[in-house]
Amino acid sequence: MAGAERKPSSLHVLRAITARELRLAWRRRLLKLLFLASVLPPVIFITVILVRLFVERSFGADLDWDPMLRFLQFQAGPVTLLALGIGTPCVARDRAEDVLFLYATRPVVPWHYALGKLAAVALPAAALMLLPGLLIAVLRLTVTQDLGAAGAGLLLLKMILVSLVMGWAYAGLTVGASSGVKRARWAMLLAIAFLVFPDMVAQLVTFGRAWPMGPGSAVNRLMESLFDLGLDGQGLWCLALLMLYGAGGAWVSVQRAQREMIP
């Protein structure tokens, strides 16, 4: 008998859980399509930027239009669907198959489990927001040259903030919903309800004057704050709300894991 392994690092365990979730997601045709769909907005916007450059240089027209906000708002669509597709089955499936205790028989603790699942949603969501955005920023810095180094740095910081906050919030929303039920389709409905109803209820109650309450509208308003209106009170509220959605989902997932990772 060969010697048993030493206990693995927390990072190793987290990476293994996240990588498995992503591998399982990649096997699903719909998610592959959504992933490809999330590559379309950057292609479209790069084309738009190049056309704008051509028009400005050829006709001397000044098209005063910042494509970054529009790009991020478009990109948020497929990324939201992708997050729903990856996140909603991940805990519900384990619960339906009664395998949470199996994790506990390994050197895995509840927060490894929850964080591994959250990262499987947050990392691709953030990457799909950030990487094409980076590409556009580099294009503007080098080809269209309508952005200086300081401007590019600031843009980069804003994009990192939006990407990470959106990834965290959507991970909390979808994995949290998945932790509440035993069927992926119910988790999907629950997550969609959280995307739709908080805003709907708030708007009804305040006759359309409410600040964003749902994660979708909060992401949208945060983008507007950062890239157009300036970081105002509503922008800060959206930032806090999105962090809260992520933390809430993480808390629900850890609680679920603690309760069910026992014999």
Binding site: G3, R6, I17, R23, A96, D98, V99, A104
Partner: protein, 315 residues
């Protein structure tokens, strides 16, 4: 509690363990030191077997008392224990969403193996369990036998020192059961410690050298299996025709203590040649046809049932 000494160093040590679940005491003042290569964990439903497994993995926290596994204190070294243990849990399934080999490899990764190494060892474990091309099929469609093999492969993939098997043969047909038991015996003989939780006492008798019998959260017996199944000293069992009530009465009149009797068997106490001579004399006088006479052998099942009944009697 009955107890018998064991020769090797104990690898499970439990001292005055109290563990509550849902506000109800499940393990009560549990103490045991087990050193056998394979230890059987038996007891009625609700006796606390699964809870004890949870405590030995450091998943369930005790209210008081101490426990250690492989010399590692719990719950402080819980992750270390779990890294060195392979667990086949009755109630848990297979990691869902992929093929059998995927699930086994993932189990290896959870225990610290790199992906490529985990995949290599997953194939090796499945080869050893004679799982062929089915390993590439989605695990969701597996038969019970295939699921059990896959679960065993998940517990073996990281080459653990300790195997904790919770009802491994449940749902298997007789050939599948025999095959799985042979494999577990082989794993034990390779030098692994085995903790076998089972209701099938024949399995425990065939595999284990020590037994931990739980009864309502307390230890009813902890010690060698042989001490429970060895021939009863001075007790003989006769088998044949004519061993009726009259025979028993005549034997008792001759000064031999009759312990029990049914249609074909009679158990009596033999203190020496005088009792044996008296037995044969009564048999000859009454024309009884004795086909077999020998020491009374106790099966583990009989011994455990006796212990459990004695426990119920004390309560």
């Amino acid at each position: 509690m009955l107890s018998a000494p064991a020769a090797a160093a104990p690898w499970i040590e439990i001292e005055n363990l109290h563990l509550d679940r849902g506000g109800r005491p499940v393990l009560v003042d549990l103490s045991a030191r087990l050193a056998g290569r394979a230890v059987g964990l038996v007891g009625a439903n609700g006796a606390g077997k699964s809870t004890l497994i949870g405590a030995l993995l450091g998943v369930l926290r005790a209210r008081s008392g101490r426990a250690s596994v492989l010399g590692l204190p719990l719950p402080a070294a819980a992750r270390e224990v779990r890294a060195r243990a392979g667990v086949m849990a009755e109630q848990a399934g297979i990691f869902p969403g992929g093929s059998g080999v995927d699930a086994v490899a993932f189990a290896g990764m959870m225990s610290g193996l790199a992906r490529r190494e985990a995949l290599r060892r997953a194939h090796r474990a499945l080869d050893a369990l004679e799982v062929g091309e089915e390993r590439y099929r989605p695990a969701k469609g597996y038969s019970t036998g295939m699921r059990q093999r896959c679960k065993l492969a998940m517990s073996l993939v990281h080459d653990p020192e300790l195997l904790i098997l919770d009802e491994p043969t449940v749902g298997l047909d007789p050939p599948g059961r025999a095959q799985l038991l042979d494999l577990i015996r082989q794993l034990r003989d390779e030098g692994r410690h085995v903790l076998l939780s089972t209701h099938v006492l024949r399995d425990a008798e065939g595999l284990c050298d020590e037994l931990l019998l739980l009864d309502a959260g307390t230890v009813s017996y902890a010690g060698p299996v042989a001490a429970l199944t060895q021939p009863s000293a001075g007790r003989l069992v006769a088998c044949g025709d004519g061993l009726d009530e009259g025979f028993a009465g005549a034997l008792a009149a001759a000064g031999v203590a009759v312990i029990s009797r049914d249609e074909e068997h009679l158990v009596f106490s033999s203190r020496g040649d005088a009792d044996l001579t008296a037995f044969w004399r009564v048999a000859a006088e009454r024309g009884a046809a004795v086909r077999r006479l020998g020491a009374e052998l106790t099966t583990l099942e009989d011994a455990v049932v006796d212990l459990m009944e004695a426990g119920h009697g004390r309560r």
